[in-house]
């Protein structure tokens, strides 16, 4: 105690005017920038406008400097530099992508191979890892990080294109002519941010896991890269066969990650995870094959798995309902939605930190994304028919039930897992409501959940590495020994609770307000929106409960008295997530401008279908083909059906 006091006295030896002086210097820098801006802008722009421009132009330099300075003092140059670079990148991202800065001419050259590079790099990297020596884990780690950063770099050009309502970076190659299977990848405003989320989160998860994973590093890196490639592939695939391959491919590494590096009960959880997901996948596979077969019958012999081809099928009610059910079940298990959610808490508790982050942040989004893309896209009438009921399930079973279950968990990772069920209830509600605003909100909320829940798992991993327990009552009073850690945890908690200016608020707000405007969930829009708003209260109840139990009050356990505060690796890993929490919370339009038109497209598609065929008995008759969507990428000249293909 005495030494601490004397230290703090020594530390406060710096003259009191230093900080205000530094602030003045920064303000001076802004003023200089302002002067420059005055010379550049014409007279039409006002004083304030030029000030804003000056601040905007200087911010990629000022903000990193401030961040480097703001780092707690026991960290060295290494941490400061890295965090400053992160902050600089975030500011560059903001200033370059703020609405209005994207090139209005729109005539950017889009490479047809970019997406293949994007998903090919991690897959090739995974194979590359196999040829590295097992005895040199550092080399393997370095190689993995390099490949992941390369993917991140490859993904950056995606941001330079204004997505609008259509698909971009389209690549369509005939792969297996006999079965009409194409290698078809493309990206639109919806998959864009999910791909970005993947390439953003996976390196973070990898980096933080290198600190806690001690065994079988080579296998771990292999699994990570394979998983990254498969997830990106599933987000960009527009051929259902290719989608299915990637969908199944990502199951394998996650299964291995839980089963090999997990906790004490890992095998059971891994099997549960695998079986649940597999059940859905099998049904979906059957439905995909049926769709392709039906397409062949309707189109005169040519099989096709292409999304836009299959979208043309006009299916009668009884067929569509069953196909929808098969697809929906598969996706809803993945989301997961009540009552199919119980694999998630088990998988999360047993998975290692890195696995939990990827599972929560990206893999669950495959379920919501799949529902949005394939269920709404292929079976609009059936989706509308089920929407009112499923929205009720999302509100009651997801938002409210999930939150109350979360409140009652003693195991912190289980609690976060149940909070995922609640948060994804919002996402699904937004998708079911299917108005432009709610879909935008849902897509944004997918990204939000990825960032804040990923950060929660990451931060909990920090304390887990030190204490190797997940029980709330084992902690208490940690704010005193780990102040920086506590501050970060509280910030991320507030994002998860949905405090305004953090990302969670934007998604929830858009979903709730737009759900009320929805006409597609029957007369329950008001009740659903109100139920979702109740979730806002419950979120605070369980998250603040865990914060209080972990960080406040006196230190009860002797083991907690000497805990080391968050270290450089963990700080570097969590910093980008915390930055993004505020970037999305304050500047959501950066993201929404890209999503907006695609969400409008989905809304319009649904509306036009529903106007043509009224639910519930919308259509009974033969299967027929509608024209190809005008927004679909140009199709390959279809190969003539091979002579030996008989149906």
């Amino acid at each position: 105690m005495a030494t601490q006091t004397s230290q703090s006295i020594e530390q406060s030896q710096r003259p009191p005017w230093v900080a205000p002086l530094a602030v003045l210097i920064v303000a001076g820098a802004v003023l200089v920038g302002l002067l420059f801006a005055f010379h550049q802008v014409d007279a039409a722009v006002g004083l304030v406008q030029s000030l804003v421009i000056a601040i905007g132009e200087a911010s990629p330099i000022i903000v990193p400097a401030a961040v480097a300075w703001a780092v707690p003092k026991h960290h060295g140059v290494r941490v400061r530099a890295v965090l400053a670079i992160f902050a600089g990148l975030a500011m560059l991202f903001l200033t370059q992508t703020l609405p209005g800065t994207i090139g209005a001419d729109g005539q950017t050259h889009e490479s047809g191979h970019l997406l293949s590079w994007l998903l090919g790099l991690p897959l090739a990297g995974a194979i590359g890892v196999l040829f590295l020596p097992r005895q040199a884990p550092r080399t393997v780690q370095l190689f993995t990080m390099l490949v992941m950063f390369a993917s991140l770099g490859v993904a950056l050009p995606l941001l330079g294109v204004h997505m609008g309502a259509t698909y971009h970076f389209n690549q369509d190659v005939l792969w297996m002519p006999r079965f009409g299977i194409h290698y078809h990848v493309a990206i639109d405003g919806i998959s864009l941010w999910l791909v970005m989320l993947t390439v953003f989160i996976v390196p973070i998860a990898a980096y933080v896991s290198f600190g806690s994973i001690k065994t079988r590093m080579k296998d771990w890196c292999f699994a990570l890269l394979l998983l990254e490639g498969a997830m990106i592939g599933a987000f960009v695939a527009l051929d259902l066969f290719v989608f299915y391959i990637f969908w199944e491919l990502m199951l394998v590494p996650m299964y291995v990650m839980i089963g090999v590096w997990g906790g004490t009960d890992r095998i059971r959880s891994a099997i549960k995870f695998f079986l649940y997901t597999m059940t859905g996948s099998m049904l979906m596979l059957g439905a995909i094959l049926y769709l392709a077969y039906t397409y062949a019958k309707a189109s005169g012999g040519q099989l096709s798995f292409d999304y836009f081809d299959l979208q043309r099928l006009v299916l009668p009610q009884h067929v569509q309902t069953w196909l929808f059910a098969a697809f929906a079940l598969s996706f809803l298990i993945k989301v997961p939605m009540w009552p199919l959610h119980t694999w998630l808490p088990d998988a999360h508790t047993e998975a290692p930190t890195g696995g939990s982050i990827i599972l929560a942040a990206v893999m669950l989004k495959l379920g919501t994304y799949g529902y949005l893309r394939f269920c709404l896209g292929l079976f609009p009438e059936a989706s509308a028919w089920a929407a009112a009921m499923l929205a009720g399930v999302a509100v009651l079973g997801g938002i409210i039930y999930g939150a109350l279950c979360a409140w009652k968990q003693d195991d912190v990772k289980r609690l976060i897992a149940y909070s995922s069920v609640a948060h994804l209830g919002y996402v699904m509600l937004g998708i079911f409501a299917c108005t432009q605003g709610s879909i935008e909100g849902a897509v944004l909320q997918m990204v939000n959940h990825g960032i804040s829940t990923g950060a929660l798992f990451l931060l909990f991993g920090v304390i887990y590495d030190r204490r190797h327990t997940r029980q709330q009552e084992e902690f208490g009073g940690l704010a005193k020994v780990m102040p920086v850690y506590a501050a970060l945890f509280v910030i991320v908690t507030l994002a998860s609770v949905g405090l305004p200016t953090t990302n969670g608020f934007i998604g929830e707000f858009m979903i709730i307000t737009s759900t009320f405007a929805s006409t597609k969930i029957g007369k329950f829009n008001g009740i659903d929106a109100t139920g979702a708003a109740i979730g806002v209260i419950l979120g605070a109840v369980y998250m603040l409960g865990v914060v209080q139990a972990m960080f406040f009050g006196p230190i009860k356990k002797k083991e907690n008295e000497k805990l080391e505060d968050i270290n450089s690796r963990e700080l570097i890993a969590v910093a980008p997530l915390v930055i993004m929490i505020f970037v999305i919370g304050l500047f959501p339009n950066v993201f929404l401008t890209q999503i907006k038109d695609a969400a409008q497209r989905i809304d319009d598609d649904m509306t036009s279908h529903l106007e043509a065929h009224h639910a519930p008995d919308y259509y009974e008759g033969a299967i027929k083909l509608a024209p190809r969507s005008s927004l679909a990428p140009r199709a390959l000249p279809s190969a003539p059906p091979p002579a030996d293909a008989r149906l």
Partner: protein, 837 residues
Amino acid sequence: MSSIFPAEDYSPIALILLLPLLGAFVNGIWGHRLGKPAVKLMALAAVGGSFLVCVATVVQLAFTGGEHEHHRLAWTAWEWMHTTGGLQRSSVPIDMRFSVDTLSGTMMLIVTGVGFLIHVYSTAYMAHDKSFARFFCYLNLFIFAMLVLILGDNLPVLFVGWEGVGLCSYLLIGFWYEHLPNAAAGKKAFIANRIGDFGLIVAMFLLVHYTGALDWVGMQSGAHSLMDTPADAFQIHIWPPGGGTYPDIAGLPLHVLNPAKPFTITAATAVGLMLLLGCTGKSAQIPLYVWLPDAMAGPTPVSALIHAATMVTAGVYLVCRMSFVFALSPFVMACIAVIGALTALLAASIALVQNDIKKILAYSTVSQLGFMFIGVGVGAFTAGFFHVITHAFFKACLFLCAGSVIHAMHARIHDGDAAQDIRNMGGLGKYMRITRWTFLVSTLAIIGCPGLSGFFSKDEILFRAYVNHPVNPFAQRLAAFHQDVWVWPTWLGPAIYFAGLIAAAMTAFYMVRCYILTFEGEFRGWTIGRPSMFKSNPDIDPHDPDAHHEDLKEPGRPPHESPHAMTYPLIILATFAAFAGLLNPAPLTKHLPIEHWLEPVFESTKDSIITRPDADHLTWSLALGGIAAFAIGTWLAYWMYMQSQGEPARRLAASQPALHRLLLDKWRVDELYDWAVISLVDALADTFAWFDEWVVDGLLAKVTSVVVAALGNILRVFQTGVVHGYAALMVVGMACLGWFFVAPHPATSMTESNGDYTLTAGPGIGYQYRWDADGNGTFDSDKFGDQTSVKLHLDAGASKTVQLEVKNAFGLTRSTKIVVKRPEPSASAQLVEVGQN
């Protein structure tokens, strides 16, 4: 000025907001390294600078625009987001936009002005705290959030501030988080506020749907849609939910739930009630007031700033700000006024018997907020808001005085609760003259001593409650939909007036009691001795809460007056508490500056608030009631505690022990909530957690696995491993296979093209065939031949029975009949190609 800062791009607002944020940032990040003097400098400069810009802004505001015109100075920071809204379901932009009008201008002056004084006070009050920098970081952050709340130009931006102040309140209540009850009190405050925020979110989605906007101007111009839409969309069906009727499902007689007449409310009422829920959370009204008394766990300057002067008045501010919506629904207005009156009574009755000086002031705050609600509820928005202003001065002053007293008591009493107990004080007026006089002035102000600020603001509210009532401006429209129009009952105004009088009398009693017990009489805290009797122990920091407990019987120094940094703010606040009433001296003169200043803001509500025609004659008779309440309460307290030394009070408590206990236990409302609400949710959560583990997971995972395992067990019985058992089974299998090959199988397949059918027989070892292709019942030839297929033609709708007999190499024969039917042409048989490209 206006050329540099046009009204639509008034950038000084950025400065007002950013200075406190900068202060919070610098103190939060570098506070530890800077040391206390720099932290102090930063925090004070931030809030002081902000205050100066506020003054400049209000001056500019006063000189822009014309008379009686509602004008604003606005600044758009950036485009924030958008959502779907409006009856046409279009995209509604929501910008980070801030604006100042006379209402928000006044409010921000109070927040930064009183805030600055409390910052100055805190520099001395918190001087010995280990987390000095963290404290000022939170305090500056609070000022920032409060300014966002006030200046936000639309509801979501206001909501940013609304939640932001809630967060700061949470952090500051739990400031000394090592003590678990403090953290729990913070959580309670946050969650109670969240319940209110739920109301605000619901109000927001209703508003954005009906009015198509969330900014003040847009909502005001679209507000009529809440009462008047082309169809009956403005009616919200409460029961049955969403409208329609319940059909019977699967024999369940759900139709009994269908009411004779659907229960609907107008969108205006729904929005009003939901906004009101939000306001009760933030402004600590029934039913959500329970968090505020617990919030006193925070440092005393925090109680003064957040839980008395500024944050808790945000609810009143919101009602004023959204007055154009509230005015559409007299029912909601009545709810506000009734809630206000009940809260004023309830909180005042609790305050009568409390002994903790901060608790008394906390309940007093709740009670005074009730008065403000009465004011805005009866449509006297100016009067309600004027009470916000005067209350900010005298309540801040009272809390800071209490802080000063506690500071003095801490010299020897280190237990937090004991140091705040007025039974341990008494006679402090002798030792702490400045504190005593400022406390007295503020007490006189709050209890409505004629001439001081509280008199003018409170009496205006009570007067308005008696003479005002709101009417529904859309009554005819509602009648067209056969809706009952709620009419303000004539007895309600006088009832609220008399309830207010009783609460005012109680206020006078408990405040005077608090003053007398604290400052008059003999000091009861510890024995005061001469300097020669002191045991000097310079090592012990008198303000260190961890220091040992002293024996209070030993003679010690007399309580000391606080340093200048604490007393100067007291003097300034007491001055304002005394004279702020002159801003709106309602019964004295018709020249009312505040009324005139705020008039444009409430212009739109004018038509829906009716004043009694004889109001002018009632002015002084109603004011006399207020003066009488003041006189009776004061005299009673003076007689009980000054003249009789508290004896009548003790006797009264002894004669009514149950009632006294109930009041001391705050009517046991917390226990009621625990019993009725919290345990209910808790039980529900427990049930869900159990259900999840045993039913959902049990059915899906455990039962499935049991079924699969059982099947496996059954099949395992056959895997005996006994080789001759397998051999016997194999022989049986071979025999079956052999029989299959020996028996002939007449199988056919059929292809069709435009009515030409081709039937082909399946091949087999040594198979020979004979056919009956014309369907006459006899085979076409008696002999078996090699003809494997026959052709026939059928017209639409016709059918034919074809026979086939097969003879195999063993000479065995077998025949089969095939019915060939050509269906009628129908739509389903045709595959339609539509415009394939």
